[in-house]
Amino acid sequence: MDISVTVNDERFERSVEPRRLLVHFLREDLGLTGTHIGCETTVCGACTVMLEGRTVKSCTVLAVQADGKEITTIEGMASNGELHAVQEAFWNEHGLQCGFCTPGMIMSVDQLLNDQPSPTKDEIRHGIEGNLCRCTGYQHIVNAVEAAAKAKAGA
């Protein structure tokens, strides 16, 4: 089936089998390997991308469902050589160790801060409930989200 998907403001036209998962489409057909595959069972959130401006687990969306729609992946976050405020905050606050969960985590945090510009610690933890990190114990991630919220408020 022929589909046309806009990813990070660039339009891609490809032919895919209906059973192709969005995460495989992004990684293998488009070469956008920043979106990671962790559990492949809708649990870990490593494959989180934005579909029409809301976060989804791309292992649990079919590529054909994204036909005609807009997607943002981690590759679309930085612009003009400048890191996105959330990326910058993760870097400054050491919000990662191995980094495997980070692309998905950053997408979820971006949505969280769009929905709630100054979340409490509890709201932050609730907002990233769909993203598992097995390294940090989340503390530095929560710190990074708070720093990103401050940076965005000051910007």
């Binding site: 089998e17 209906p18 649990v43 959130g45 687990k57 649990t60 969306v61 054909v64």
Partner: protein
Amino acid sequence: MIPASFDYSAPETLSEALQLLGDEEAKVLAGGQSLIPMLKLRLAQPARLVDLDRIPDLNFIAEDNGTIRIGAMTTHHQVESSDLLAEKCPLLAKTAGHIGDVQVRNRGTIGGSVAHADPAADYPAALLALEAQVKLVSASGERVVALDEFLVDALTTSLEDGEILTEVHVPVEQEGVATAYRTLIQPASGFAIVGAAVRLGVSNGNVSFVRVALTGVGPNPYRASAVEEALEGGPANAEAFAAAAAHAAEGVDVLSDIHASAAYRASLAAVQTRRALEDAAGSA
């Protein structure tokens, strides 16, 4: 984790969708948050998926003469963040906020969840307590069915071949009725091990209205009639709540699995019911 092959259609009208469902081993795709995992595990291998996402009139929340109608393709996130529901049917909005996680709520739909009939889904507890109805449409007509008649068994409903669930109907909450939803979740999946939904009206210190429904306890979510009967007309206090909640799993074939034994689940049912009653009483 790759599904078996299937054909895919994304009709733009309901009548087209009904037609597509008629002619082969076809299955409806809503948000896909239960179906796609089942396809990947090859627990489901339909010949065709009929995606409802491109049918514009299936995504809405509207009030009509004391009834709130919710389109089948309305996402959990939309239910959770609806101002109309927060004001007029808060139990449903707060229950939606408990489902899965943020990404699942962005994608999963109320119609998909209800039609899938997972015995541990969150919605049925609230919807049974609300005495919700579902609207089912087929090529030959439509019918509106009470949810407790719609839910037959685990993953089994009275939806017939060629029918599509298009709407969920809930009442505008009554004046003076407070609500609560309590759940203990299985932390990896986010599914309720036990969830208890309560609607409680208190007048002059006595229970004037009560509805209690549970999910996750047995093969089917259910109204806990024994709890309701124990409370109706009696005092609305902690002792009465605890005594009534002890009936929460009465007559139920309680599930046992790696997350909770039947005895533990039955005990959890009583505890969550008591806490939900207390929450509702506290917010009244």
